[in-house]
Symmetry: C2
Subunit: 377 residues, 2 copies
């Protein structure tokens, strides 16, 4: 734990020195101490648990900045859909071009559909751009994109294993959409009122911290339910955060600050773990060009797939570019997809490493572009 | 995680209803959901890790309230020493009287040496008595008592496992006192300056949260080193907290608040785990009288053991009684000692349950006496 926090601190130092976002610095510090270079930290169950906890808390605090209605606009659906389909075909086509077999190509395409809300939301937050229109579009579309990536994953598994059926895909869709719908509805109608009532009880007056505990309990409950229906846990905790975003509390207002502080420690560990999880030594030199090409395709297809619908919806060129680039990081979502493929024997170890590195590159490059060109003052 | 927090919340509700400290309510809630009654939560590795983390963070935040010089007055040492030795003999003698075997008797005596800083500090704070002379004596002696209890614990482990030797105890004492001495010195001379310097760096100005990460890193580092020399991790994190207690920071002052919030969530989980790990079904009716007698002995031996030296140091009768009663709660410290004994197979489940119940009773009774008789207005 001490070592993980030391690495995080070194990450802040790196971020400060290279004038990049703290996220990038911390991931780089993770790579340096991980098996790729120094081998000081390995990805144990303990690190994994803390990192998972960090991702859940991070998305909860980001959820706290958005009311559900802000991010559930139908037009974000088009951005998400186009931003999933185009990268899928881009990845699939590139993989076949590099003589990957059909199964691996399907999985590479699927990994490209994902979007990591965690990373880009944190970068936007660091830059103070979270309340801008493109930021809202990115977050809204990224939540929808998580559902689409889940569907693409179960479709791919079906195609590769020869058990593809429309019925299964429909059921998966129903479960995921049902969870998000019910989650948002419960949040807006029930939870936001429950917390207001709770705030007026004598219990909350005597122990304001009980409201903080209550909100974190809901965050983890939502995360668990999201995983139960096959979505990533962070979509659940994000929705839980959004449920409490509008709460105006007299006594329990401290819960927002509390979540923020939890996030400082555990999100840092999450970002360290992203660096630690990958062992860049397993990549053979022959794969380097494919990784570079795949990462380029991954970023370009998101810029095109998300940026063009945004432009058609009347946004400016710069805002559309911000949305496209903002959707480009694959982060932990693509890593999870790759891990599922590896565990089920659908992709080989080297394909897995390729996907992890693609995730890393697409995660590090957009924040650098944001900081140095787009939001440069 | 969600379930653990729900239990903690129920604990607050119980504490509120029975008008007791939140700690007591949360432990009771833990007993209810644990194997004793409902069997909803079991003591898994995950729960254990989080609880351990909670104990470290809890003692760190307590450390933050005391500067090292306040708690290192020689005269408090006599109160602490007499308040550890007399309860040890009282507990040991009572246990042998009730036909406990030698090993269990040694551990029962050891558990009685402990004093809970957290509980006393909270009670005194609630009553607005934190700045009184007896309050400072209680806190100072309680800190020393923690160290004595840990020495008593390692002596007991040696006696019970047959590896006891004066040399080993001397070495343990030397290591423990050495660690505490070096820890306090490093804290006062080095860490308190490092954090002030860190606070003025551009890194801290840009990322104030990096100071929070730094302090938590030190907390876990001290905890790890304390365990390394054979002390409990919490002594280390307490000293780390005391090192930063006097820090007056411009940018990183948020770290105290941050630690407080971490503590809310993880200490709650720690207290839940204390209830969950105990299976009260193993307490046979024949043990009830022993528990009552042990709790009475536990309180009386602290009143005598701490009160008399205080009286001899020139304090009034009432102040001496306040000090004695204030040192009586065993709280989480005795629970940790009991847990160590249980995990190492040195005591049985029923002895463990007896000690937990004794901790609860000694924690509940003194505040009631304070509230209804001593500080009655």
């Amino acid at each position: 734990m001490s070592l993980l926090l030391f690495v995080a601190l070194a990450g802040y130092q790196i971020a400060y020195r290279i004038n990049q976002s703290a996220v990038v610095g911390i991931i780089l510090a993770g790579i340096i101490v991980g098996p790729s270079l120094l081998g000081l930290v390995t990805y144990t169950d303990f690190v994994s648990s803390l990192a998972h906890l960090g991702a859940v808390v991070l998305l909860f605090t980001i959820g706290l900045e958005f009311e559900a209605k802000e991010i559930t606009k139908p037009r974000y659906f088009l951005i998400a859909l186009s931003g999933a389909v185009i990268p899928w075909f881009g990845g699939f086509y590139l993989a076949t071009l590099f003589h990957f077999d059909f199964n691996a190509s399907v999985f590479i395409g699927t990994a490209l559909t994902a979007t990591s809300i965690a990373i880009i939301a944190n970068v936007l937050k660091e830059m103070g751009k979270l309340q801008t229109l493109p930021a809202k579009a990115i977050i809204g579309a990224a939540v929808i994109d998580d559902i689409l990536a889940l569907l693409a994953l179960s479709a791919s598994e079906g195609i590769v294993s020869g058990t593809f059926s429309v019925g299964v895909i429909m059921a998966t869709t129903a479960k995921a959409v049902g969870f998000v719908g019910v989650g948002i509805l419960t949040g807006r109608v029930l939870l936001s009122r429950v917390i207001q009532k709770f705030d007026e009880t004598k219990l909350a007056i005597k122990y304001p911290e009980s409201i903080f505990i209550f909100t974190m309990m809901v965050a983890f409950l939502y995360a668990m339910m999201a995983e139960f229906v096959g979505l990533s846990a962070i979509v659940g905790s994000f929705l839980a955060g959004a449920s409490f975003a509008g709460a105006k509390l007299k006594h329990g207002h401290i819960f927002k600050e509390g979540a923020e502080y939890l996030q400082i420690i555990f999100a840092a560990i999450f970002f360290v773990s992203l660096g630690v999880i990958m062992d860049i030594r397993v990549v053979s030199p022959s794969l380097v060009w494919f990784i570079v090409a795949l990462s380029a395709v991954a970023i370009l297809t998101k810029v095109i797939g998300c940026g063009i619908p945004a432009k058609f919806q009347g946004m400016g060129l710069k805002d559309s570019l911000v949305i496209g680039l903002g959707m480009a990081p694959r982060g932990e979502v693509a890593m999870i997809i790759a891990l599922i493929g590896l565990n089920q024997g659908l992709i080989r170890q080297d394909t897995y490493a390729v996907l992890i590195l693609m995730s890393l590159l697409t995660t590090i490059i957009p924040p650098i572009i944001f900081r140095n060109w787009i939001f440069k003052r």
